[in-house]
Symmetry: C2
Subunit: 130 residues, 2 copies
DNA sequence: ATAAAAATAATAATCATTTCTATTATTGTG
DNA sequence: CACAATAATAGAAATGATTATTATTTTTAT
């Protein structure tokens, strides 16, 4: 099944590429709908899954029950605010090799890890003080 | 709303305490049903949530779309097999302080992190070789 | 221009989980 | 022990995210 161009898919990719807030499928739907008023949610889901499978975007599971999508496919870590639920990128320069640590004394093979951090984001922290 | 005893809740707690395989709510339901043939799935969910809120068990999100439950509430890490989906405990002795690393240059407050490892478990690895 | 194949919109289905409600079980007090 | 207050239950319906289905529309190679 050779890939065929679709304006909807381009719009989804285009929208996502300008985002740093890791939108959900529904958030993508809401926005792309302004350009394509009768795009269906199913189309959004199908294309997000396709793009993720192609490796053009990343699906991010931060444990809040909803999938988020990230135009940045490079390895990096995420922070999730317990107060507002926002998802932000973290810039950890020292990449610790926790995979090797975990491999010690384990009889299987560790291929990777998923790590996310949670707490209170800067905005919510400032709001609490006032 | 003061807590009241319930035989169903005891059975759920009892069953879970003897497990190392991190069962899902449905798996708990299937087993406890042998003792309480008409326990409802809703009761299982409600009690698992209650026990987790009380801190007597832990809810484990390993990114497979289903919640798992763990009688071990102490800090430890999990491994998920990409082949069979099993969830195992990992024994990492050196606990790296990645929270502090992530905090560097971040304007919010990091309270914790969720980390899980994935790969091929020992059993599946051996199966692949044969 | 056209026909094959892929993508779409709209809708129905699925799956995990939560909520609702009438009934049952637990428990503190007389 | 009886009994009333209230928490917990079973069963069923509801919810929310996601996937599947299908008839129609787009894309694209010839």
């Amino acid at each position: 099944m050779a890939l065929k161009y679709s304006r909807q898919r381009e719009a989804i990719k285009e929208f996502l590429s300008g985002r740093k807030d890791h939108p959900t499928a529904d958030a993508v739907y809401m926005e792309v709908r302004r350009e394509f008023p009768n795009i269906s949610l199913g189309t959004v889901y199908r294309n997000l899954t396709l793009l993720a499978d192609l490796g053009e975007i990343a699906r991010v599971n931060v444990g809040d029950g909803v999938d988020h999508f990230d135009p940045n496919t490079a390895l990096h870590y995420h922070f999730i605010c317990r107060a507002c639920g926002c998802v932000q990128d973290l810039d950890i320069d020292n990449i610790v090799n926790i995979n090797e640590m975990a491999s010690a004394g384990f009889d299987g093979e560790i291929g990777g890890n998923v790590t996310y951090f949670y707490g209170i984001c800067g905005k919510c922290k400032r709001k609490q003080l006032s």
